[in-house]
Point group: C2
Chain length 135, copies 2
DNA sequence: CCTAATAAGATATAAATTGTCTTTTTAGGG
DNA sequence: CCCTAAAAAGACAATTTATATCTTATTAGG
């Protein structure tokens, strides 16, 4: 239960890498992928998603690559994870109570909401700046 | 991310149902399954697991069925969930840091440990007695 | 023994995960 | 105006996980 996908882990590796570099320069996807040990084609897909959401900016053609879309201190881990996986929902009734006939009377339902809140709270408390490894 | 499986949800439904009934009587699997709206064969598998772990007791043959293995106030939701799904691990490096070469230097790693702690704390704080619907 | 019930194990289907491959688009430089 | 470098987009594929079901065995009571 509750296991992060590779995709999210890779995504975090990639964007944290960017956050640890000078933010106004572009970096080759292939270089990023190599540095964080992620299959390049997979990371490409992830960064395409991020690009649409503004988490990163992309530049095509010669001299192209990726850079962070915003300052590292303004991007939380929560935002990154939810950008990849969608909302954090411990159980489907948290997102859509109508999915389960029992949600009205279910005593477990509120527990999942609390779990969601706690997880979100932890992840929202960490920014890319916090995570960036400065060397 | 972080979504509970049906199996766990079904498991909880089933065992919470038992917790809401007089604890020293046996109940037919088919009745439990019908009451909580779970495929009977699936719930059977789950309860077989639970039985091995002592969460429930099973009785075969005529007049057989299931009852709770311990008092409802001594069984936490955490225990039930982990009995079905195994340990709660937000990321595989939490269980086995050696799985990931980067765990030594990774700044994200400690965050997943905190997430794990928070989730476990919430679930450990709820017992089957709390969840049992009395009517 | 006959019947009721769970136990155990094999099997099946569908969905999600974890990628890869090919083609297209964009941009820079000579 | 090409040529090359790079990301974008979309199709495709393998593997694993989830979600069951089915069959046969075992146990217990009457
Ligand atoms: S049974 Fe309760 S916890 Fe499970 S899905 Fe329905 S409302 Fe949510
Ligand atoms: S990169 Fe960090 S968070 Fe991801 S698996 Fe490795 S140690 Fe864990």
């Amino acid at each position: 239960m509750m296991e992060l996908t590779r995709k999210s882990d890779y995504a975090i590796r990639g964007i944290v890498y960017l956050a640890g570099k000078p933010v106004d320069k572009v970096y080759l996807l292939s270089d990023i992928a190599a540095a964080v040990d992620v299959p390049p084609t997979f990371l490409a897909k992830i960064f395409q998603q991020f690009s649409k959401m503004g988490l990163v900016k992309s530049f095509r053609g010669t001299g192209g690559g990726f850079m962070l879309g915003r300052l590292p201190e303004t991007i939380t881990l929560l935002e990154v994870v939810e950008a990849v996986e969608g909302p954090i929902i411990p159980n489907r009734c948290v997102a859509t109570p109508s999915d389960c006939d029992r949600s009205g009377i279910c005593t477990v339902h509120p527990v999942w909401i609390r779990v969601q809140e706690e997880v979100r709270r932890v992840l929202a408390g960490v920014t890319l700046k916090d995570l960036a490894t400065k060397e």
